[in-house]
């Protein structure tokens, strides 16, 4: 990968808009997966992405921290601004982008290392912390992720020995240990039972004062419970082929989306009559 000189995305203090996305189009090879999405994401809010399978929620999410760079065929068009900085500017250091905009994945993916090493991984990379500081970072992250009490006596044990719900909280801890500004969560609870899900939802409320969060979810109640704003995506049949392209139907306050959405398709979806 070519490392262009590191121009870092700077935050402009007064703005409360984290992402400003305009006319986003994403292609996998010839296939257009997402068409003309435009939206803003606010700071210290939880935004939910909902919509039927294949409508491009994951695709859009991964555009926001340049995770799509690793998909050979993926191509992104349009403007993705993060605190006013174009994330796809060739001068941007994409690793720094991902440090600031962390990600929690659908399936818990702890490293086959100890619990401590998992959380310390990102913080160690920066080289900014001494050994004692790292210990502190790890403890704080685990506390924030509501995992500390369960693992404090076995930090040296393998992370693979944790339960699924614990592993997912560990992944959240690993993510917040590098002190990101935004956390992107792609169906973080889909592999978890209701109790573990409730814990993660509580955790999101807990940490939203420090982070802006975007969560993709298939669970309508979850979106309604946790999010401040909701974006509804759906698919449209391409005239030129039979493949479906994802479009953003609307984004609004969660209350509005679930009570009186402006688009009929949204209403059909949130009331369970479509998708």
């Amino acid at each position: 990968m070519i490392q262009v000189q590191a121009v870092q995305p700077e935050r402009t203090a007064e703005s409360s808009v984290v992402f400003s996305v305009r006319d986003l189009n994403v292609f996998y090879g010839e296939f257009r997966a997402v068409r003309d999405a435009s939206f803003d994401i606010n700071e210290n809010e939880i935004t939910a992405f909902i919509g039927p399978s294949g409508c491009g929620k994951t695709t859009v999410l991964r555009c926001l921290n340049r995770m799509n760079d690793f998909i050979e065929s993926a191509r992104v068009e349009g403007k993705v601004q993060y605190h006013g900085v174009d994330l796809y500017d060739p001068q941007i250091n994409s690793n720094e982008v991902r440090r600031r905009i962390g990600m929690v994945f659908q399936k818990p993916n702890p490293f086959p290392k100890s619990i401590f090493e998992n959380v310390a991984y990102g913080a160690k990379l920066s080289g900014r912390f001494s050994k004692t500081e790292i210990n502190e970072v790890v403890e704080n992250a685990l506390r924030q992720a509501a995992l500390w009490d369960e693992v404090k006596d076995r930090l040296k044990a393998s992370a693979l020995g944790l339960s699924g719900g614990q592993q997912q909280r560990l992944c959240i801890a690993r993510c917040i240990a590098v002190k990101p500004d935004v956390i992107l969560m792609d169906e973080p609870c889909s592999a978890l039972d209701p109790i573990a899900t409730a814990r993660i939802e509580d955790l999101m409320q807990e940490i939203k004062k420090d982070f802006s969060i975007i969560i993709v979810t298939h669970n309508m109640q979850q979106a309604a419970r946790v999010s401040d704003r909701t974006a509804f995506f759906t698919t449209e049949i391409n005239p030129e082929s039979d493949r479906r392209t994802g479009v953003l139907v609307e984004i609004d306050s969660t209350r509005k989306i679930f009570s009186m959405p402006s688009d009929e398709r949204t209403e059909l979806y949130v009331t369970g009559r479509f998708g």
Partner: protein, 290 residues
């Protein structure tokens, strides 16, 4: 159908057993026919060496030959093989991969006698001679390097399989906290694949020690001692000693000087078999659940 296939499997098993039997019988004959006045393992005379015609079998000479050339081979094969594997699995765009991977496989298919000539006609005059100016054009360094070339494909392909088995989700976890690609490779992918890499190393070592043609052609085929460790001296591997005995180079077709072939063969068999079993254990013991 079932009977035919079962028969095929049966024949394979019988052949393996037969090979073992022949080795054992030859080795026993060897022990029966040698005079025991020289040490078998270690010749303690003033000028120890591998002199089958004089019925002096200093095992240490040929074991050292195998170890030195095997080590040299691995010094070549590890960086080339692992480097190729990491490149193919982590860095190469699909277009390049489509060219490089078959090229590595072609290398795996080249008969070792050709690699032997490559050693004599290229490695010796163009690499070893200009840099080290050894006394003999055929020496352990030339042979060791060529054996290394020969085992690069196996090293590369087992390592690549191990690297590819590391799930993408682990790489993404690393990228997700801002790690660079190189950091991700070194700190996440390689450690997660370590059991496969160790297994590749052991299997490649076993191949290198078992390699015969190149060792015989380019290694100098000289076991006349004094026992040498210097890679720039000619040497004799266990395998080359066996070809000498089998081909009648030592001017004998019977008796201990011939039968020693079975004894060394048995040793070699036990050695490579143990290495392969260790590799198997390593893979099983450290297999990651991810």
């Amino acid at each position: 159908m079932r009977a035919v296939l079962g028969g095929a499997a049966m024949v394979t098993v019988v052949i393996s057993a037969l090979i073992l039997f022949v080795l054992f019988r030859g080795a026993i004959d060897f022990f029966r026919s040698i005079g025991w006045d020289f040490g078998i393992l270690v010749d303690d005379s003033a000028a120890p060496g591998w002199f089958p015609r004089r019925e002096r079998f200093d095992l240490l000479t040929i074991v050292l030959g195998s170890i030195v050339m095997g080590l040299l081979a691995m010094i070549v094969a590890v960086p080339l093989g692992l480097g190729t594997a990491v490149y193919l699995s982590e860095y190469a765009p699909p277009r390049v991969r489509r060219i490089v991977k078959p090229a590595v496989e072609v290398l795996a298919g080249i008969p070792s006698v050709i690699v032997g000539y490559f050693a004599l006609k290229f490695i010796a005059p163009n690499i070893v001679d200009p840099i080290f100016s050894p006394d003999q054009p055929r020496n352990m360094l030339v042979a060791g390097m060529a054996i290394g070339v020969l085992v690069v494909p196996i090293m590369a392909s087992i390592c690549e399989d191990a690297l590819r088995a590391v799930p993408m989700s682990l790489r993404e976890a690393s990228f997700g906290v801002g790690a660079r690609k190189s950091t991700t490779t070194v700190r996440v992918v390689l450690p997660a694949a370590v059991s496969g890499i160790v297994a590749a190393f052991i299997i490649a070592t076993s191949r290198a020690i078992g390699e015969t043609m190149v060792a015989a052609m380019a290694g100098g085929r000289d076991g006349s001692g004094p026992r040498v460790l210097s890679p720039l001296e000619p040497g004799l591997t266990m395998t080359a000693a066996m070809t000498n005995a089998a081909g009648g180079t030592d001017q004998v077709k019977a008796g201990a000087p011939f039968q020693v072939l079975f004894f060394v063969g048995l040793l070699l068999f036990v050695l490579t078999m143990s290495l392969n079993m260790i590799a198997d254990r390593v893979v099983r013991k450290y297999r990651q659940k991810y």
